[in-house]
Structures are given as structure tokens and as C-alpha cells.
Symmetry: C3
């Protein structure tokens, strides 16, 4: 995805993120596929779906943002989180955000041991902030009838459970949708990849 990966330039906006995924799909002429978005990736999945709905068999959101029409990602996180990300972005010098290790360890990989927590942190690179502050026109997304699923990891506290939680706050915006749940944190892709794979299959099947 544009702006992501260690060597990628960080000065990108949300439209460039979406375009990079669209190009990857079109270049391979992918059709009848299941498109999975995790966390910030949910915002990109929604915009990609607006552009090529006829190619997509099902959308799967894995504790992902499904924004209200007109909102940015930072509009939908707790004010204390938004203030932290604003500050980190300003201090970075290049408008990127790198979550501090203690927050990553407790709120993102709470189901990992310390060794795995440190290793996963070593794999991260700073996140471009502009795509998180771009307000998204999602009018078309909310008219689409592509089948959709939401995978909720029950110990995910990257968003605090309750008023600001992933589920049912985000999932509830999907209309008729399929719910799949699994134990684990926001980063089950690191902490339980085998079960995640199984749940993606359950979420993605017809």
C-alpha cells in the first residue's frame, strides 16, 4: 500500500493508498475475490469497493475502521488517542506516527509474550498520518450490496471496548453482515495466525 513498507515514501494521502491497491488488483486482473481489510485497512477497503464493486465477491473487515460518511479515521478514535497521534505526528518531522512500545505491548499485542511483542515491534515502521486525517466521501459505499463480514477479536483493546470499541460500533454500520469472532488481540496475525486464517475462511466463504 502506498506509504507503507520500510522504504516507501511517507508523503501520501488516502486517495494514493486506495489507488495503489486498485492498481495491484487491476494489474493482476483479479475478479471474484474476497477483500480483507485490517484496522486502517478497512478505510481503504471501503474506497476500493466503491471503485470496483463488480469484481469483489465479499468484503471482510478484521477489527477494521468502517467510517461514517465524511469522517476521517482520527474523527472516530477517542480524543485522547487522537491527541497522542497528533503530537507524535508533529514531533516526527515527517508527519508519521510510531506507536510507543508500551502502548503497542499492552494495547495491540496484549496476548503475546514479551519476546514476541518486541519482535513484532521491530517489524513496524512509521505510519503516514495524512491518510488518517483525510475525510472520506463514503456515500457510494453505503449504497453497495456486496456481501460483508466482520471478524472481531475479543481481546482487541487497540480501541477501548464499549463506547469507542470495534464491535458493535464499526460492525453495526454494515447493515446485514456476518459476524465471526475469535480470541486474541488486534495483532492476531502475529499471535495466532493459524486460527486467524481459519476465521478468514469462515468469514470469506459464501
Amino acid at each position: 500500500m502506498a506509504g507503507h513498507g520500510r522504504s516507501a515514501p511517507r508523503n501520501v494521502d488516502h486517495a494514493q493508498c486506495t489507488d495503489s491497491i486498485l492498481q495491484a488488483i487491476v494489474a493482476r486482473d483479479l475478479r471474484e475475490f474476497v477483500l480483507v481489510g485490517h484496522s486502517f485497512g478497512g478505510t481503504v477497503v471501503c474506497k476500493v469497493a466503491e471503485k470496483i464493486p463488480e469484481r469483489i465477491r465479499r468484503l471482510v473487515f478484521l477489527n477494521a475502521f468502517i467510517l461514517k460518511d465524511g469522517d476521517s479515521l482520527v474523527d472516530e478514535i477517542p480524543p485522547t488517542h487522537a491527541a497522542l497521534y497528533d503530537r507524535l505526528s508533529t514531533e516526527s518531522g515527517d508527519r508519521t506516527v510510531m506507536i510507543p512500545f508500551p502502548t503497542w505491548r499492552e494495547s495491540f499485542v496484549n496476548d503475546a509474550d514479551l519476546e514476541l511483542a518486541k519482535w513484532t515491534y521491530s517489524q513496524l515502521s512509521p505510519e503516514p498520518y495524512q491518510p488518517c486525517t483525510d475525510k472520506l466521501d463514503l456515500q457510494k459505499f453505503y449504497t453497495l450490496e456486496i456481501p460483508r463480514s466482520f471478524i472481531n477479536c475479543t481481546e482487541d483493546i487497540a480501541l477501548p471496548p464499549g463506547e469507542w470499541g470495534w464491535h458493535p460500533r464499526m460492525s453495526g454500520r454494515l447493515g446485514v453482515y456476518r459476524l465471526v469472532q475469535m480470541p486474541g488481540s488486534h495483532e492476531v496475525i502475529y499471535t495466532n495466525p493459524a486460527l486467524l486464517a481459519q476465521k478468514i475462511v469462515e468469514a470469506g466463504r459464501d
Copy 2:
């Protein structure tokens, strides 16, 4: 239950549903039994309990409606669901409701594969709508002291989680009650009958 089963006449009201269960109990002279109600069945369990409380050892509600005194079932589902059921009932010609397959597949048997989802749908027959719109006098129910349990299936989205969810919205009306939970959808009787049986035992024991 009156109005249910393929060949049963559909022009029944809630009182007739209750009476048919009462008659089945009295005809067999059942006593000291555990009475389990699922979904709509919860409304019938509450009325049966009012009539023969001395025979019932424990009530078990499996993601079931426990209505507020004076409400009908449709009073306690989301307005969008109520509007859909109203429309389906009107269009049916005989005041019955048959959930469309896509909704059944995603919201009722979300933990099934497509083959099982289709088979379960083939077992359904239209639901009489009158019993869902009858407002129930439940004053006596709320004075009963029969022990009670609530089984919550954690992926049940037949009612949307949160404000309109099964648990704790319905369960919380039971006063002192026993909570038992299991993974699965609204239709675990099809998707995980062995675990459901075990959970009914845990819910039903003294």
C-alpha cells in the same frame, strides 16, 4: 406449537401458542421439568410459567425474548427489522413471515457453511405474525420466583449486538439468574447441537 410446523394452520394468536404448549404438558402430566425457550419461544415460556409455575423446576432462555410487561415481540426489535417483518407479512397474503435467505444465512446461521445454511433454510416454514404483534400481560411473570437461566450464544446477531442485543438486554430482566454462554449463532441447534445440549444441561441443573 400452534401455528408452527409445515401443515399447521397459520391463523393463530399468542394465546393459542401458549395453550398448545400447556395442553402438551398437562396431557403428559409433566412435573419438575426444565422448560427451555428459544427466540420467540421465550415469550411463550413466560406465559406458560404464569399458568403452571408449580410444575416447573427451572426456566431456560436460549437467546430468547423476555418482553417487558405490555409489549409485543415487534415492540422490542429494531424499527428496521419491524418494518421488514411488517412488509413481509403484508406481502405474504396469509400474515406470515419468511425471512429472506440472505438474512438467514448472514444473521441467523453465520457460523454454518453454505451447504448447511441452505439445508437449514429448507427446513423452515413461514412464521405466523399475529403472535409477534400481540401485546402480552406479563405482570404475573415478573412476580414468579422460579429459578431461571439464560444461555447466550456469543455470535448471535439475529438481534444486533449492543442497544438491541439479546444479552444483557433480555437476560437483565430476569433478576437473579444464571448466565451460561457458548460460541455460535442464533441457530446453534443446527450448527453445534452437541455443545448446545451440554450447555442446556449446565443451564438447567439445580
Copy 3:
């Protein structure tokens, strides 16, 4: 803990509960330890942490009270529960509370069979009520930066789920914290001690 244990005098207040734990720690010169509090024990953990923060490696709350500054425990339970405890305390003659067996069986050990439920009840002794009504100054606690975890048992209905529930109501007051969940009731120490031990390790590790 002062006021607890069959032969202990019951006329104690919250400060005496805290002091007894502090004394046990200092007498053994414990350092770099993980301090676990369950239920009422959470209120004591918070006060102990204020006194010897430099000795504590991490705080673990197991479905425990984390009170708002200035509140007592009874300020933070449903009014119907508070009224019951007030009445039981008055009737006891010595300002203690003994939960009636039916409430214990359904709301505290809902995952036990009847035999285990009865045995656990036989192990209880009346709880001094004064520590539950003492309003606690927790200003310092809310400035501490000791790492902290919350273990939530997903079938715990000792506090009713939702508005008055343990999680995320109590856990959400911890700021950056680690969430660990497990199936079971408020009394998993009796009903699933092996899994609880494993979860305490997951909650307590760095």
C-alpha cells in the same frame, strides 16, 4: 487480610485491610512482585500501590473494583445490590454481610455444579461491611505509572453485565492496560483454578 478468615475480628475498616497487606509485604521484604486483587481486593490493591509503588512490578485486577476517587465500593454497585447488602449488614448484628446461597449459586458460581456450589459456600465466612462503605481517597493511585492488567471472566455476573459490569467499566479506568479474558464466573478460583493460574501468568508477565 484484616477482617477476613473465620476467626478474624470483623470490626475493621478499609485502612486496616490495607495495613494488614502492607505489613505482610514489608515483613517478608517483598520486591518486584505482581500484586493481584480480586473483587473487593481491587480496592485494597489500589491503596497498597499508593503506599509502596516502587516495590510493585505490575498490578493485576481479576474482575475487581477500581473505584473512582472518593467513592466507596457500595457507591459503585447497583442500588438494588447496595440495598440488599445494607439490609443484610443491619440484620447481622455485627455489621457483616453473608450473601444468601441462591444468589451465590446463580450469580457467583454459575459455572459450578450444585455440589461444588455448596462446597464453596461452606468455605465462606461473613464479610465485614465497613470496608465496603469507606470512601477512598485514590488521587495518588490515578497518578501512578505501574503497569497494570485486567482479567475479565466472561460469565461473571456478580456485577450485572452492561451499565454496571466489571468490564469495560472498571478496566477502562486503568488508562493503558493489558486485557486478558477467560471463560468462567466470578469464582473461577474454585471452578477453573488451572486456567486461572495460566491467565494470571499471562496477565502478570512483562
